[in-house]
């Protein structure tokens, strides 16, 4: 009697430990997945938040710049055969540089053509123009690359998973997260510590005053449209490498989520965009694991609506210059 009790107790304890650990591992696994996606959201969100900070404009076309980054990476890898020519390690570095550079150029052109002429128009004109630019880019990508899913070459990075505390983390995810963190910290230091960064912050607070103290505001805006699209394009490239397939419409859903992240952290606030991106990624991963995967996209939108209704300034947004 006593013996069997002890035995069943031990069994129960073992069961609990395994089961509990399984649950924990599952949770951690989803958490890490969420962090990787969240890092990508954060990178895109930085573009939204910087443009909004300086121009008070939601750059709807930003999500499509992200798509362009992904497709450009695809072209460089498949048609251009970058990986075969220079080897995978150098290829990835070259890809990052070329994609960021090219998307930045498109960002500059976008600002010149679609936003600069509307600088002094009502703000909603600029929103319509941004929407038009988004439609234009999306359909341009569709006409060039076709409407179907395109597949990234799979041999780019070694398929290794690291085993950490019983959870398997693919090397790609770690790399993505590391790159995101490097970019975010780099941008933060650039904005906070350099003279140019100070100029950007000044222009974000008051364009007229910034102009009065001799800051080239047009230059600052161009710079913002270099940094933002470059980071967005990089995010597109990373989505391609991470998930292996891309579609011409993916920009707007990633864009909307990144915008949600920017608002979650407090729009115009750079650390806020990073924090918001990571939180949104984790919430979405956990939500799709524990609630329902079919509602994954709806979770982000619910978060968005809740924040705007309850706390429109976001988590880190301190400035409330206007009634939102």
């Amino acid at each position: 009697m006593l013996e069997s009790d002890a035995a069943s107790e031990a069994e129960a304890a073992l069961f609990l430990r395994c089961y509990g650990r399984g649950l924990m591992a599952e949770f951690l696994q989803q958490f890490v997945n969420g962090l990787a996606v969240g890092g990508i959201y954060a990178l895109i969100a930085l573009g939204y938040t910087m443009v909004y900070g300086v121009l008070k404009l939601i750059n709807f076309a930003h999500g499509d710049l992200f798509t362009i980054g992904a497709y450009l990476g695809l072209t460089l890898l498949t048609s251009f055969g970058l990986a075969d020519r220079v080897g995978p390690g150098v290829a990835v570095l070259l890809l990052v540089v070329m994609v960021m550079g090219f998307v930045a150029v498109i960002g500059i052109i976008l600002e010149r053509v679609a936003y600069r002429p509307l600088r002094n128009s009502p703000r909603l004109s600029a929103v319509v123009s941004a929407l038009g630019a988004s439609i234009f880019f999306q359909n341009a990508v569709m006409l060039i690359y076709g409407a179907r899913f395109r597949v990234y070459p799979q041999n780019l990075l070694p398929k290794i998973s690291l085993n950490l505390l019983g959870i398997y983390i693919p090397l790609v995810k770690i790399l993505v997260l590391v790159v995101c963190v490097i970019m975010m910290v780099g941008l933060y230091l650039f904005i906070q510590r350099t003279t140019i960064g100070t100029a950007i912050r000044a222009a974000a607070i008051d364009q007229e005053a910034a102009r009065l103290v001799g800051i080239n505001v047009d230059g600052v805006i161009t710079l913002v449209f270099i940094i933002g699209p470059a980071l967005g394009g990089l995010a597109g490239l990373m989505v391609g490498i991470l998930y292996g397939q891309i579609k011409f419409t993916m920009g707007w859903i990633y864009g909307l989520k990144a915008f949600t992240a920017a608002i979650l952290g407090g729009i115009g606030n750079i650390p806020g965009a990073m924090l918001g991106g990571l939180i949104l990624g984790v919430v979405e991963a956990l939500g799709s694991a524990y609630i329902s995967i079919a509602w994954k996209d709806a979770i982000a939108f619910c978060v968005l609506i809740l924040i705007l209704v309850v706390k429109p300034t976001g988590l880190l947004g301190e400035r409330v210059a206007e009634k939102v």
Partner: protein
């Protein structure tokens, strides 16, 4: 100018209603699509054009109307045209619930939230919410509408149903422009702060325009369901909302003639240039940017309202 316009419409409207007699069913069907988008455009115009609220999730209300009609028709076999007010009411109530907490949000934020609402509705429909929306396949087998025992089936018959509804809508909305609500909305769009200072309850009127616009979209959804007999979530995607929005911006926000012209251009032109239909959204995108730069008020901007100022009898002032 004003006189000419009136004369032009007096001549054009009867001709337009006779046109289907010489067109083949295909082109009449194109006109029917134009009519549906004209209805949607007019309803969205109430929100975007009159109140100046950027709503990019209008397809959600269209969907609520269409699905309400389809579900009630297929489950309880209620004649679909009788469900017209029910569809409108459902969409209106849904809009009231959704818009009440977000109506105070500033322009671009409202825009983002309405996109979110539209997407949530679409995802809910795909996921077969409450088990009644039929998931990604949608609902099929909606009964043909009947008027006085006559089944409406051919494009020609639908033409008169749809365009009669458009005509009634144009008349009502034209009357609305000069009503107390219309004037209040006009004021709010021009200067929200000044309107508030003059005692106009801004949030209240914005909500009215939002709910009425959504109600009309719901009724358009009912007609859409009756015409198609099959509805599925993909008919209510974000791009539908963008299409409605674009036709308003192109035609002239706040102008009924502008919206009708916009519907003809955006739905009709791609039918004429069919070879280029893949590139039509590309063209729309570029056109939206160009319009904002060169002609932000649209092709036919609303005519500024002139009101007779009555001589102030109570104070003895003259005008």
């Amino acid at each position: 100018m004003k006189f000419n316009r009136k004369r032009f419409y007096l001549a054009a409207v009867p001709i337009f209603f006779l046109v289907p007699l010489i067109l083949n069913p295909y082109w009449v069907d194109v006109l029917n699509s134009i009519g549906l988008y004209a209805l949607l455009g007019l309803s969205l115009n109430l929100i975007v054009g009159y109140a100046g609220l950027f709503n990019l999730g209008h397809a959600a209300f269209y969907a609520v109307g269409a699905y309400t009609s389809a579900i009630l028709n297929t489950t309880y076999h209620i004649p679909i045209l009788l469900l017209l007010p029910v569809a409108g009411l459902a969409a209106g109530i849904f809009a009231l619930i959704v818009a009440r907490p977000i109506i105070h949000l500033r322009g671009d934020y409202l825009c983002i939230v309405t996109i979110g609402v539209g997407e949530i509705v679409r995802i809910a429909l795909i996921n077969d919410v409450f088990g009644i929306t039929g998931g990604a396949n949608g609902i099929f087998g909606i009964a043909r509408p009947r008027i006085f025992g006559m089944v409406i089936r051919t494009p020609h018959q639908f033409f008169y149903l749809i365009w009669l509804f458009v005509a009634i809508t144009v008349f009502l909305f034209y009357r609305l422009e000069d009503s107390r609500v219309g004037r209040a909305l006009n004021y709010i769009r021009e200067d929200e702060v000044a309107a508030e200072a003059c005692g106009i309850n801004v949030a209240h009127y914005k909500l009215i325009s939002f709910v009425v616009g959504a109600t009309w979209a719901g009724m358009a959804g009912n007609i859409f369901a009756a015409k198609m007999t099959i509805i599925s979530p993909e008919s209510f995607s974000f791009w539908e909302s963008v299409l409605m929005f674009t036709l308003i911006i192109l035609g002239g926000a706040g102008s009924i003639e502008g919206v009708l012209l916009g519907a003809f251009l955006i739905i009709g032109l791609p039918e004429i240039f069919r070879e280029l239909s893949n590139a039509r959204m590309l063209f729309f995108g570029a056109a939206m940017i160009a319009m904002m730069i060169f002609r932000p008020e649209g092709l036919i901007p609303p005519v500024p309202k002139k009101y007779r100022v009555f001589s102030g009898t109570d104070r003895g002032e003259t005008t």
